[in-house]
Structures are given as structure tokens and as C-alpha cells.
């Protein structure tokens, strides 16, 4: 049979198999462009075809609720990522000390990650509720002045969401870093012991830098969770008290479906997209470069 024709046929079948993937890519890029177009229009409930430039973005930057959402997300993001990385790292290092019951402990630290943010948010809402939760319990134990009412405190409510989600996500960091730790060459430990370097120094100066790829993976996972932050807020505080725990994802959803202002919501979503791209693009670039050389497992 003609060799060229054969190769063409071979290409055709495999191309046909990739049609669903092509459709998904087109849908992803297409919808993003569509949102971009809406963000430059004056659309309210229905998309309008006009072009009003950056007016929606200007309104967004003048919107107190949006600005508070951004501020909350920044505070939340920094605290959540730092706390989850530190706690996850400590758990991984301590679990890596040839301890008894490693399997049980690992299971305990990771189980919250198997649950939905809605479910865990509701549990934390109940524990942090000052009237029936931890505050009330400690008061009854003989400390009547004990106060832990952050969830109804406008200035502190965002920290309660940090606590709940760090509790949920630290196990994930632990699992990733533990895999990284187990991949480190034992010669390093031998060499360090011969040189008389204390273990904590080895962890800080040698192991920590060697775990950089695992940390990068954990960071990207945590970062995408930060941008998506929605379920936990809805189930724990519904953005309250007042608007004290509003976040961008919730602002966008509210303006898309509750407040019928799709142009403003789209402008907000495009701003989210740009933030993600700026922060994730370097990682993605590095990953595809290295994936070209050796396949990650």
C-alpha cells in the first residue's frame, strides 16, 4: 500500500480521537474570550453588544466590596499558604523519624482533604459558633471570661477561614513532602553525620532546598485553592458578618446570578485570570520544559 496514504490515514484516526480534547480547548479559550468581551460591555442581565472600554474595571476598582474581597484574599492567601506549608513540612519531617504508627498518623492528617469544603466549613462554623461551640464549652469548664468569637468579629473572621482550610489542606502538603523526603539520597545523611552536622541544620540547609520541587507542587495546589476560595466561605460565613469575609470568587458569583451585573462580574473574573496567569506561568513553563526531557511519574 502507498506509504504516504497510510501515514495520512494513521494521522486521521488519531486526530479524530482527539476531537473531544480540541473541543474542550476551544470551549476553554472561547469562554474566556467571551468573558473578556462581556467585561468591556455594559451588560447587566443579558450580554450587550456595545463596547465601553475599561469602564467596568474602573467601577470595580471603585467598589468597596470588591476591594475588600481582594484584601481578604491577599491576607487569606498569604496566611493559608504559609501556615499549610509550615505545618505540612513539620508533620512530614516528624513522621519521617521512624516512628511507630506512621500509617495511622498519616491517615489522620490527610483525611480532612478527602472531605468537601462545604462539609468541613459547616463543622468549623459549628465549633467556632460562640454560643454553642468552643467558647461556650471553655466558659463552662470554669473560665467565664474566655473569648473566642472570631467568626462573628468583622476584623478577625477571615482568620477563622484560614484555620478551617489549613486544617483541611496541611495533610496534602505533608503527603507531597513526605514523598519528596523519601526520595532523598541516604548518602547525604551519612555525610552529614560524619561531618558532625546536627540534624536540624541538615534539614534547613540541605533537605529543604532539595525539596524545592515538592514545595513548588504544593504551592501551586494551594495557590489554585486560594483563587477558587468559595465553598468554605459560603458554608462558614456566607461572606459575613456584613461583608467582612467576602472573597473575589463569591463577589463574581453574586454579581453573575444574584445581582444581575454580568459585565462587572466578568471584569472581576478576568482580573482573577490575569493574577493566576502571572503567578502560575513560570511554574507551568518550567514544568513543560522538564516534562519534555523526562516524563514525570
Amino acid at each position: 500500500m502507498n506509504k504516504k496514504l497510510n501515514r495520512l490515514r494513521r494521522q486521521a484516526v488519531s486526530w479524530a480521537a482527539l476531537v473531544p480534547m480540541a473541543l474542550v480547548v476551544i470551549a476553554g479559550l472561547g469562554t474566556a474570550l467571551w468573558s473578556l468581551k462581556i467585561s468591556f460591555s455594559s451588560s447587566r442581565t443579558f450580554p450587550a453588544d456595545d463596547f465601553i472600554g475599561f469602564a467596568q474595571y474602573a467601577r470595580l476598582l471603585d467598589n468597596d466590596r470588591w476591594l475588600l474581597s481582594l484584601q481578604n484574599l491577599a491576607v487569606y492567601g498569604v496566611l493559608f499558604i504559609l501556615a499549610a506549608l509550615v505545618i505540612g513540612f513539620l508533620l512530614a519531617v516528624f513522621i519521617d523519624q521512624k516512628i511507630k504508627g506512621e500509617g495511622v498518623l498519616r491517615t489522620i492528617f490527610l483525611y480532612p482533604y478527602a472531605m468537601s469544603f462545604v462539609a468541613t466549613g459547616l463543622v468549623w462554623q459549628w465549633m467556632l459558633n460562640p454560643e454553642v461551640g468552643i467558647q461556650q464549652t471553655v466558659r463552662q469548664l470554669g473560665y467565664p471570661d474566655f473569648k473566642f468569637d472570631w467568626i462573628i468579629d468583622q476584623d478577625r473572621v477571615i482568620y477563622t477561614i484560614v484555620i478551617a482550610t489549613v486544617w483541611q489542606a496541611s495533610g496534602l502538603v505533608m503527603a507531597l513532602l513526605l514523598a519528596g523526603l523519601r526520595g532523598i539520597d541516604e548518602e547525604i545523611w551519612k555525610a552529614a553525620r560524619i561531618d558532625g552536622i546536627p540534624p536540624w541544620r541538615v534539614y534547613f540547609s540541605i533537605v529543604l532546598p532539595m525539596l524545592a520541587p515538592s514545595f513548588a507542587t504544593a504551592f501551586v495546589l494551594l495557590f489554585t485553592a486560594v483563587v477558587k476560595l468559595f465553598d468554605s466561605v459560603v458554608s462558614m460565613t456566607q461572606g459575613g458578618p456584613g461583608i467582612a469575609s467576602e472573597v473575589p470568587a463569591k463577589f463574581i458569583m453574586d454579581h453573575l446570578f444574584g445581582r444581575a451585573n454580568i459585565a462587572l462580574a466578568s471584569a472581576g473574573s478576568i482580573m482573577m485570570l490575569l493574577t493566576v496567569l502571572v503567578l502560575v506561568a513560570p511554574y507551568f513553563y518550567a514544568r513543560t520544559r522538564s516534562a519534555g526531557r523526562k516524563q514525570p511519574s
Partner: protein, 296 residues
């Protein structure tokens, strides 16, 4: 990975030194903190409301009752209706089964085509797909609602399944592409020489070899779809609301006295499926996390 070999040497001293007591103290305190919410959920769900009003969330139940569980399952109010969250359970099952099977099949086919057939331009397509995984879902939300409405699928079971297929494709494709990259190309070439076509090699050779990665993918998809809130909220429609959405409705829309015991029972019921999968699957679950690290 020879994890045990790597570690055999590291700690010779096995007896309890102050340092090791410190390690255990840290780990056990952490374990207590991690288990606390689960414990409080469980004990609260079997207490009477009278006992809950007394206000010690750590106390074991004095009057053990499973009534809150029955209420949560079959008569708690989710908005206007009071049929419990069992409806949500069956909706979630109906959503999760096709939303696991189709994404796995598509992901496997994509990975197979990318790893072995390598059609021209496919790698660019794959790179675009992976980039798409980072687009926040809100960016696509409104256009997708319009598209689904145009297709007549908005607020229907096939609609929400299609949405899950779309959003899971990057990670599913990545999973299978990397798995197939570890299978020798010679095996594929031999099958080609024997006259195997695209689908024949896929179905008779590759799929049967993919059991481990299919298990990992299934664990990821079932838990991911089950725990989804935002997609179900927007795209499933009132008849198909998944359990997470109904759970949130039970708890955050009730008026009058809040039945905390019922709320906690409903929360456990909603978490039961992913938790069971997690406890049964163990290391498979962790493998999925590492493999799906690019999920957006």
C-alpha cells in the same frame, strides 16, 4: 522507591530519648487537633438538642439517640421541601457514576493518542489543555451557562455530567499520558505490525494494562465530583442538586431553632462516600494527589 531502605540507617537509637518524646508529643497533639472536628461531629450527631443547649461540645452523649440521623436522611428541610438529604445522595450518585466513567475513557483515549500515535500538533493541543486547567471557573461560568442553555442541557443531568467531563479533562489526560509514557513503545509497535488499528490496540491492549491508573483516576473523580459544590450549584438544576448543595441548604437556610445534631448528622452523611473511599484506598488516594498536581 526504596523508602524503607533509605531510612533503615537514619535512626539507630530506638529507645526513648527526650527528643523522641518530643516528636511523639508533637505528632499526638497534631493528631488530636486533626481528629477534633470529626469527634465533635460524631458526638454531636447522637446528642439530643436539650443536651446540646447545655453547651459542652466535647462531652460524650448522655442520651444516645440516632433520631438526628433519621431526620437528616429523610425529613430535614432543604429550603421549601422537607425530605432530608437522601434526594441529594441519589442525585450525587447519579452525577458521579457517568462523571467518572466518561472522563476516564476520554482521558485514557487522549493519553493513548498523545503517547503512541503522536499526531502532528497534538502536543500543542495538550499544552493548551493544561493551561486551560488554570483558568478560574468563574471566568467560564457565564458563557458556559449560555452554551448549555443553547444546547438545551442547562439544569439537567446530562448537562452537569458534560460540565464535569470538560473540567476533569486536563487532569485525566495528564494522568493517562504519563502512565502510557512508561509503557515501552516497542509493545505498541509490535501491535501495529500485527495489524492492530487505533481502537483495537486501545481496547484490547492498552485499557487492560491500565488497571492501576484507572483505579487512581476513579478515586480522584468520584471524590472530586462528590465534593464539588459550585458546578452542581450552577449547572445541575433544581431536580439534580448534588448532596453538597443540599447540605448547605439544610444548614444555612433554616429559620427558627437550629438543629445542630441534625446538621452534624447531615454533614457526616455527605462526607461518608469520600471518607469511605479514602480509608479503604489508602495509598492509592495519595498517588492520585501526586499525579494530579496540575489540577486547576
Amino acid at each position: 522507591m526504596s523508602a524503607t531502605a533509605v531510612h533503615a540507617h537514619r535512626r539507630q537509637r530506638r529507645h526513648l530519648t527526650p527528643a523522641r518524646i518530643g516528636i511523639y508529643f508533637f505528632l499526638l497533639s497534631a493528631a488530636a487537633f486533626f481528629l477534633m472536628p470529626l469527634y465533635i461531629m460524631l458526638v454531636t450527631s447522637v446528642k439530643t438538642m436539650d443536651e446540646i443547649q447545655l453547651g459542652n461540645i466535647f462531652a460524650l452523649p448522655a442520651d444516645f439517640t440516632i433520631e438526628p440521623w433519621e431526620t437528616a436522611w429523610s425529613s430535614a428541610c432543604t429550603g421549601v421541601e422537607c425530605n432530608g438529604i437522601r434526594g441529594g445522595f441519589f442525585n450525587s450518585v447519579a452525577i458521579a457514576i457517568p462523571s467518572t466513567i466518561f472522563p476516564i475513557l476520554l482521558g485514557a483515549m487522549n493519553g493513548y493518542a498523545l503517547s503512541f500515535w503522536k499526531p502532528r500538533g497534538a502536543n500543542l493541543l495538550f499544552a493548551l489543555l493544561m493551561m486551560g486547567a488554570f483558568i478560574p471557573v468563574q471566568v467560564m461560568m457565564f458563557p458556559l451557562v449560555r452554551i448549555m442553555a443553547t444546547l438545551g442541557l442547562f439544569g439537567s443531568l446530562p448537562g452537569i455530567v458534560l460540565i464535569h467531563i470538560v473540567f476533569s479533562m486536563p487532569v485525566m489526560t495528564l494522568l493517562f499520558r504519563n502512565y502510557y509514557a512508561s509503557i515501552p513503545q516497542e509493545l505498541f509497535n509490535a501491535a501495529r505490525i500485527d495489524g492492530g488499528g487505533f481502537f483495537r490496540i486501545f481496547i484490547q491492549l492498552m485499557l487492560p494494562m491500565s488497571t492501576p491508573i484507572i483505579i487512581v483516576a476513579a478515586i480522584m473523580q468520584v471524590t472530586g465530583v462528590w465534593n464539588d459544590y459550585i458546578l452542581g450549584l450552577v449547572f445541575a438544576g433544581r431536580e439534580n442538586l448534588p448532596m453538597t448543595v443540599q447540605l448547605n441548604n439544610v444548614i444555612n437556610t433554616t429559620t427558627g431553632v437550629r438543629l445542630y445534631n441534625v446538621n452534624m448528622a447531615a454533614t457526616i452523611l455527605t462526607s461518608l462516600v469520600p471518607l469511605t473511599i479514602y480509608f479503604v484506598s489508602g495509598r492509592w488516594f495519595v498517588r492520585g494527589i501526586a499525579a494530579g498536581a496540575v489540577k486547576g
